[in-house]
């Protein structure tokens, strides 16, 4: 809880530092969105070992549902954004439920969700009368003026991120947290000790998909335009996967730090234009072969070792446990 408050304070000060530059403020806002997505993916992939390769489709479904309902049905975005998030949550829960029931392994769930991601892409292109195909829809002026000013928009997304982190914190502290830990260690053992595997996997997928959808729907309004390339596989799934690995799976602050680090890396390769795809590939390979733990566990151990010089070993262990 303390770490979340410190993080909130630090992030709340960002507009004061970068407030003058619209470019850096937009970058910081995008980083917040990716942080929220990565927190959600940590629940799905890190804690319950479900390989969802359709984050773009979940966020995009929410985005398109929210925008199309606001545009064509004339509903208020205050209503359509929650509807979009609920649609994403329903889809995520459905995939999770079906995969547990049918006993799909990590690969088959990966293929099914990847297929869904492509179906989403083709549906958006095909349903031209609602989505305007490749060109996309302009979302500016649809009734969320808050998201059209840079500084308020930043705080809206900060609120989304903090809500996601708080949800994560509460989930992990409750009985579900224990179930998630047991699940990620050994699913069969967890089931044998009386944990309802289906229920907790579906719960994790639904909560995480709702977060993905909420951030996705708000992003659609913030971005000013929603098109298939805004919610692309390469633009969302791959960065989130890399950010999660960078930060460290199954940690509370790992997703946040990982997404921040990823934003920095991407800013550094931007001058080389199209090379970012190559960099994504190298990062995926290096992270998965060399450093599967991520930054936070490494830093925690370093900090524990540093403190261990003065404090007894048992104390440092407790620090490590508390911070994870």
């Amino acid at each position: 809880m303390k770490s979340i408050s410190i993080l909130a304070l630090v992030l709340a000060l960002v507009p004061a530092v970068a407030g003058d530059s619209a470019y850096y403020l937009r970058l910081a806002t995008l980083a917040l969105i990716y942080m929220a997505w990565t927190v959600a993916f940590n629940l799905i992939f890190g804690h319950t070992k479900q390989l969802f390769l359709c984050l773009n489709a979940l966020a995009g479904t929410a985005g398109y549902v929210a925008v199309v309902l606001a545009k064509d049905a004339g509903l208020s975005p205050w209503l359509t954004v929650p509807i979009g998030a609920a649609a994403a949550a329903g889809l995520g829960a459905l995939f999770s439920y079906v995969s547990v029931r049918r006993g799909l392994g990590v690969i088959f769930l990966g293929i099914v969700t990847l297929a869904f991601s492509l179906i989403f892409h083709n549906l958006v292109l095909g349903l031209r009368q609602y989505t305007n195909g490749e060109t996309g829809l302009v979302t500016r002026g649809l009734g969320l003026p808050l998201l059209e000013q840079p500084v308020p928009a930043y705080y809206v997304f900060l609120g989304v991120l903090l809500a996601a982190l708080l949800t994560y914190h509460l989930l992990m502290r409750s009985k579900s947290g224990m179930a998630f830990r047991a699940l990620s260690d050994d699913e069969l053992t967890a089931q044998l000790s009386g944990i309802d595997v289906t229920r907790y996997k579906v719960l994790a997928a639904a909560v995480a998909s709702a977060i993905l959808g909420l951030a996705g729907a708000l992003y659609a309004f913030y971005n000013g335009i929603v098109s298939p390339s805004v919610f692309s596989f390469v633009g969302i799934d791959i960065p989130v996967l890399i950010a999660l690995l960078l930060g460290g799976m199954r940690t509370r602050l790992g997703p946040v730090l990982g997404a921040a680090a990823f934003t920095l890396i991407e800013e550094m390769v931007r001058p080389w234009g199209q090379l970012n795809v190559l960099v994504y590939g190298v990062l995926l390979i290096v992270l998965f072969t060399a450093c599967r733990e991520g930054l936070v566990p490494l830093a925690t151990r370093a900090a524990a070792a540093f403190r261990g010089r003065r404090a007894p070993a048992a104390g440092s262990r407790r620090v490590q446990e508390a911070e994870r």
Binding site: A115, I119, V282, L284
Partner: protein, 285 residues
């Protein structure tokens, strides 16, 4: 009608070339290769480069196919080594992510070095008439090459000792090892062969239409769908599924449009996984 059917079969044979490679690598290596389409593209690009250097079309084609095979060899001996240290689910996950990363690496590199590059061979006689139906020579040649490759593969698997050991590993890796078969060497051989078959698909794509550097992911996805529908451990099933999906795709594209056709293919694969994870056509092999 016949023209659409013919187009579908031609396209299906090409998909099968890709999908059989994915099936073999999955069955033998326990790795779902998400960079398989990139092998095809690398093969095609290499062939085009050989053409530019002034080689004749036939040797360039073979050069391209061999280049794809060598890339497969390198991937097996370097990139996938960490994955082979694990077994089962863990290996699958690591292999999936590593090959996904590799596919981005190849795409990014090609996009950077040879953007807007395309391979197309032109045949001297563009059209021939068979039984009153005009057919493109290039499509016929592409199908003939694909069929020849399949004939070669089946002969290799059924008739040679190495082929038999490959089939034994697909059946049961531990059992094959007990009979003195070295899975790691066979695995390298099969990835080499699978990558060459992808190279053939890439080169024949240049023959029947044209091949661009951005087509890797599409090849991978289509190959994956066919492999899934055919049964990820069955070679005959994959061949049949390729032709089936090629024909379905050709008819659907013609009658309801490309987007819906793609959605139909994807739903087909999804339904197969949910209803019969061993593959829709696996029983007929």
């Amino acid at each position: 009608m016949t023209a659409i059917l013919f187009d579908g079969v031609v396209q299906g044979l090409q998909l099968s070339l890709l999908a059989v490679g994915i099936t073999l690598i999955y069955g033998l290596g326990g790795v779902l290769n998400l960079a398989h389409g990139q092998f095809a593209v690398v093969g095609g690009v290499a062939a085009a480069l050989f053409l530019q250097f002034g080689l004749d079309p036939i040797s360039s084609g073979f050069g391209g196919i061999l280049s794809a095979g060598i890339l497969g060899l390198v991937v097996d001996r370097t990139l996938l080594l960490p994955a082979y240290r694990y077994r089962g689910e863990e290996r699958l996950l690591l292999g999936l992510i590593l090959t996904l990363g590799f596919s981005f690496l190849v795409d990014g590199y090609l996009n950077w070095q040879v953007p807007e590059f395309s391979l197309s061979f032109r045949l001297p006689v563009p059209m021939v008439e068979i039984g009153g139906i005009p057919m493109r020579t290039a499509s016929l040649a592409a199908s003939a090459i694909a069929l020849a490759v399949f004939a070669g593969l089946f002969a290799f698997l059924k008739l040679t000792l190495t082929g038999k050991s490959i089939r034994s590993i697909i059946e049961n890796e531990a059992g094959a090892e007990l009979c003195g078969i070295d899975p790691s060497r066979t695995r390298t051989l099969i990835i080499f062969l699978a990558a060459m078959m992808a190279g053939v698909a890439g080169v024949t794509q240049g023959l029947s239409s044209s091949l661009g550097t951005e087509m890797g992911p599409e090849f991978t996805i289509l190959g994956l769908l066919v492999a899934v529908v055919g049964g990820v451990r069955s070679i005959n099933g994959t061949l049949a599924a390729g032709i089936l999906l090629g024909v379905v795709n050709a008819f659907a594209s013609h009658y309801v449009g490309a987007y819906v056709a793609y959605i139909i293919l994807l739903s087909f694969a999804m339904a197969t996984i949910l209803v019969r994870p061993t593959g829709l056509l696996a029983r007929f092999t």
